[in-house]
């Protein structure tokens, strides 16, 4: 485990938010351009994430594959799971397991994406892990 692989884990955590490309090229613009239905949010579901992770796994050399697949998957899974606990008005989260099922599970509504607290908690955990492993690094 070294910084280059940690980066892979971080990249995995970003994968579901590839759906945010919607802010640059929104669904309707793409639909009009291609003449077919389109929704970037598929990238934030299990199916879209799995294919994205497989693309990342394929593009690295075959010696790296197992580690990269594991790290990308771990990162992406934490993001999908965390987002499934976001508070919503309907009390339901998103289609996490799509295209397996359309089901949007009830959400425990633990936090909002606009809330800085989870970022702070994540930062503190990372700092603690960094300090705890300092001796091992040298």
């Amino acid at each position: 485990m070294n910084p280059q692989y940690i980066t892979v884990g971080m990249a995995g955590a970003m994968v579901p938010d590839l759906a945010k490309v919607d802010l640059l090229f929104d669904d309707r613009t793409v639909e009009q351009f291609l003449g077919i239905p389109w929704d970037w949010f598929a990238l934030h579901t299990a199916g879209g994430v799995l294919l994205s992770v497989l693309i990342g796994t394929t593009i690295v050399g075959s010696t790296e594959r197992r580690r990269v697949f594991g790290l990308l998957s771990l990162g992406a899974a934490t993001h999908l799971l965390a987002d499934a606990t976001l508070q919503t008005a309907s009390g339901r989260s998103y289609s996490v397991l799509w295209p397996l099922v359309r089901y949007q599970p009830p959400t425990p509504g633990w936090f909002l994406s606009t809330d800085p607290t989870p970022t702070l908690i994540g930062f503190l955990l990372a700092a603690a892990a960094y300090l705890a492993t300092r001796n091992r690094r040298d």
């Binding site: 910084p3 280059q4 940690i6 980066t7 971080m10 990249a11 970003m14 938010d17 945010k20 802010l23 929104d26 669904d27 309707r28 639909e31 077919i36 239905p37 389109w38 929704d39 970037w40 949010f41 598929a42 990238l43 579901t45 199916g47 879209g48 294919l51 994205s52 497989l54 693309i55 394929t58 593009i59 690295v60 050399g61 075959s62 790296e64 508070q87 919503t88 008005a89 309907s90 009390g91 339901r92 289609s95 799509w98 295209p99 099922v101 359309r102 089901y103 949007q104 599970p105 009830p106 909002l112 994406s113 606009t114 809330d115 800085p116 970022t119």
Partner: protein, 177 residues
């Protein structure tokens, strides 16, 4: 195993096509309330009347408080909704997220609603953007794209982001003097 350039390119092509397939499929999905997939802003903007009497989700920026009117731009169209039965304090400029029954006159009879300050939205997008830049920086520093073999490889001597930024600041400073 996929160890050749041709193997990688083929696999990448197939995976990309499958991914595009999912994006198109998701775009064609209709609401499914029994699965918790309620109609949202997209559906309401297209045909509000279709959902009269049904449970829907909606969100928008608060334009006026009395009556409570929210506005959102969806797929190029403006969606303006009046929200009733919200029993909490709401301020202009905040984002309101509501779940309730769609009524005639572009009204949502709220069952559950809450607000998010616009500063919160700035934070969410801002931190996401910065995080993306950070990860990109680490990827560029630690990995290298081999265009000939179409392969992403680990750098044998990783380049670090912070010294690179510092070097750039020095160069700018030297240029200013």
């Amino acid at each position: 195993m996929i160890s050749s350039r041709r193997g990688r390119v083929t696999a990448l092509g197939i995976l990309t096509l499958l991914l595009i397939g999912l994006l198109v499929w998701y775009g064609a999905l209709e609401p499914a309330p029994s699965a918790g997939a309620y109609p949202g802003n997209g559906e309401l903007a297209e045909n509000f009347e279709q959902y009269h009497g049904e449970l829907v989700s909606a969100s928008g920026t608060v334009e006026t408080v009395e009556p409570l009117v929210i506005v959102d731009t969806v797929r190029g169209n403006e969606l303006r909704l009046t929200v009733e039965d919200v029993d909490r304090d709401v301020e202009e400029g905040e984002q309101l997220r509501v779940f309730g029954i769609a009524r005639e006159g572009r009204v949502i009879e709220s069952r559950t609603a809450f607000t998010v300050p616009s500063s919160g939205l700035w934070y969410a997008y801002g931190v996401s953007f910065l995080a993306g830049l950070w990860v990109l920086g680490r990827l560029v520093g630690g990995w290298r794209l081999n265009p000939r073999d179409v392969r992403l490889e680990r750098r044998s001597s990783p380049r670090h982001l912070w010294p690179w930024i510092r070097a750039w600041i020095e160069r700018l400073r030297a240029g200013v003097e």
